[in-house]
Amino acid sequence: MGMSTRLATGGRLLNRARAVEFNFNGKRLTGYEGDTLASALLANNQVLVGRSFKYHRPRGIVASGAEEPNALVNLGKGGRFEPNQRATTTELFEGLSATSQNHWPSLEYDVGVLNNYVARLLPAGFYYKTFMAPRAAWKHVFEPIIRQSAGLGKAPKDRDADRYEHFHAHVDILIVGGGIAGLQAARTAAASGARVLLVEQTANWGGRAPADGSVVDGIAAEEWITKAVEDLEKMDNVHLRTRCMGAGVYDHGYALAYERVADHLPANGQPRHRLWRIRARQIVTATGAIERPLSFAGNDIPGVMLASAVRDYVANFGVSPGDRTVVVTNNDDAYRTAIALKEAGLDVPAILDARPEATGPLARRARDLGIRVEPGKGIAKVIGGKRVTSVKICAQSGEGAALEEIPCEAVAMSGGWSPVVHLWSHCGGKLTWDETNAHFRPDPDRAPTNQDGEGFVKTAGAASGEVSTANCLKDADAAGRAAAKAAGFKPEPGDAATAEAEEVQPMLPVWVMPQGAGIAKRMKMWLDYQNDVKVSDVQLAAREGFESVEHAKRYTTLGMATDQGKLSNINGLAVLSQSLNSEIPKVGTTTFRPPYTPISMGSIGGEARGELFQPVRQTPIHDWHQANGAYFEPVGHWRRPYCYRRDGESTEQAVQREVKNTRQALGLLDASTLGKIIVRGPDAGRFLDMLYTNMMSNLAVGKCRYGLMCSENGFLIDDGVVARLDDDTWLCHTTTGGADRIHGWMEDWLQCEWWDWQVYTANVTEQFAQIAVVGPNARKLLEKLGGMDVSKEALPFMQWADGTIGGFSTRVFRISFSGELSYEIAVPAGQGRAFWDALVAGGEEFGLMAYGTECLHILRAEKGFIMIGDETDGTIIPQDLGLDWAISKKKDDYLGKRAQARSHMTDPNRWKLVGLETLDGAVIPDGAYAVGEGRNANGQRNTIGRITSSYYSPTLDRGIAMGLVDHGPNRMGEVIEFPTLGAGSQPIRARIVDPVFYDKAGEKQNV
């Protein structure tokens, strides 16, 4: 019984002095430092590692790197649990705990495998053809079953225990991939003086060359790599990172790299992942190539692996995949695997070479080692269940009649190599079909282009489609040179590393093995292991008319698994093009999307989580609010007190208390968030006349005026009080949410339309704290604090004055959004808290209480004042709100004037603002609609109005509301009905009234 096991010697990446204990499905196992989880599992004879997506077939490790489709595990526990972690790219660490996925009750005995026994009933797209009756069954029966059976890893439950961070890098040249091509490209590029960042996705430099036994500059690749890295590390203009994957290439030279800082050292205090946001003048992708599987019956049985992966496990990790490995190939490279196995003392019963003859130097060497080489042969069928036990061999040219059965524990397959073109393609780089090597490679004439229309990505080595070490090095040197030049540097005539040219026997494209395999065999040939897509599925798609590669992909789900088709895309495409009697390049490829391999959401979010999620804007008085029971509401990025809750009070009770107290005694409002924009200059008045619907140029110095601003589309966008500070200067108040927007709006017009007007604007919102002192006792408080004259005579309503109050230097505006005697007082932001404290201390004897935004809303609603965002919603013009008085008739133009003349804007049937008083005093729900007679052509109830603001008024002890009603102002006294929601609920009847509910004459604010 030949197990997969650890060899006594070998394993260049292992530290055998350091054993590492880990846990898989509850079993305690041991590996070595330097192992991946995959190599450690194989070393422990754990070949079965998961179940496939659809048929729940047993799945083993196929690859040794990022392309692995099968070996996905649930990793870690609690706040460090992560599903779908690839075992091949998971470095082993002490205490690692992993479980396999997608099975019940266990990996060995999975009930889901029933799907496998009825697989014939479940071809590609079967679900589009059934599960349609009865209609409710899809949602309640079929979909839940499918969902439960699909999906892979478990959903994490706990909050992420790790942290993440972002780095920014600006470099001349980013090189992705630290194999010999990447290293050579870096050497060449760095020699020119360019700033180079070289990233490698694994923990080790050098890529495949050491395991392949390459020789560079006359020395073993491993030695050359060590030296190259040492040389690069000494250079100040070079930055090197391992465990850092080039994840995506975006427009204008933007690139992402994903550094797995602490995946192998969990909970060590470092961020788990680091996302690099890179801006590079040039990018070199030295991303290597990925070996393709061969399509033969049973190619998914655990123990069937890529030939290169078998070689990696032997050479890098000292792991034998089994005593006897049959190699099956269509190219020379797989012979390296046979030779490596043989040299490690393992048995290679046969090399099945689909090519009619095997004449290359590697074939000669294999024969010299005594390995049986069978040209023109392939695999008819792999025998085995949860593990390969033998293969039946056949002629590649035939229909698969078995010639012989060879017992073995592993199959090493190679269908040729495909360059990793993902990063090249992300931003529009185009591909060309290479007949010789049967792969798509980057077309250097159609590179992705940057902001100057120039190509900004080069490829190096195997990523360019080069196969030999010698050519890879030459190509890498050329890429480094070209990138340096394109980045504005002068590359030195260099001393690029070289390798000896190799004689290679051409590969033979083999898309189905054997060539004439019948349907029963083709139904057992897997293209996409994870998603269970077989050769027969792609052929079915073609037969049913899913001829475009995108159709076939979507119909069969080929290439849509977590490996995104790294192993399956080309094979699937070839099968499709054969089915369509077309050529591969004519059928084309699907689109490569970032990222290259999946990256954690945590890393995308970075540091910005929890309290740091978005910036919080706080007024200078924020700490006082916090200490005094404020319940905050977000208003844009600001936090404003909604109300201040005292012991035992509900929010509603607090709001009512605040309203009553402000009306009866004295309220204090932190109005600092209100926008404050200075507009100054010889043309400032003219400018404001364009901006506001009413006239601002004729406002007298020292006076205030309420103004409205509309968009060019005529809609009301903001309002506020404008004060004229001096001949040339106005101060415009905006809403809290409008400050930045309106300032930007002003600048837009000044810079882009009226650029010859002499106007200067400054948004000084945060330079001042502004506090509203409101209520019958307002003047008493200010007079007590002393300083300037705030009497009605000295400072009448709608005027402002500078002066001192209680020793503070202030600007006082006599404006009111409450209907009460009110002073809005601005002080420099740094004085805001001290001034507030002085007001609070002085106000105690006058019954002072702070109030929040909800009280503010009720006070203004009782007065019938509109609120931007309540009475307006982006579709309302001032005329709808009865604000015609604030629209100047004298002006030729203002922003929005022409728009307001359009037919729908002047339509007399537009709903108009009114007050609404419920007959029984109840509060109409916010947002309710009033119904009219009948239904419209679409069967909807006709409506005649809607609520825009609705409150319980503590002052009047009843519900009050404002709303827009069809011909409302002409229907005073009429009663209309507002249906309410919920079973058996009764409509609320309300009378149309004037929107001013309190102090209609406006006497209280003007005292």
Binding site: Y250, D251, H252, G253, Y254, R279, G428, T449, N450, Q451, D452, G453, E712, N713, G744, E747, D748, Q751, C752, E753, W755, D892, D893, K897, R898, A899, A901, R902
Partner: protein
Amino acid sequence: MLLLNCPCCGVDADETELAAGGEAHLKRETVGAEDEAFEAYLFMRDNPRGVHFERWRHAYGCGKWFLAARDTVTLEVFGTYPAQTKKPPKAIENALKKKRPDWKGWA
């Protein structure tokens, strides 16, 4: 992530520093304009697949608006220039004619 040179402060600004402002060189129509002309000013847009003149604001930088000629398919930037002009500078027009021979030209 686009990179546009702000002609006011001279820096190459990341897209995240900028706010896009739609088609450039629109002529403001106002009181007195026919309905059709006013509708065109507010809503009708060239929206070309190719050369597009557009407005940007260096919102998280110097705060200035500027204009750019950019290809909406390749995202190539042919140049940026100050907003205080009614048509693109000659240099950009020339560059465009050279790089995009089939460009319909500045109307």
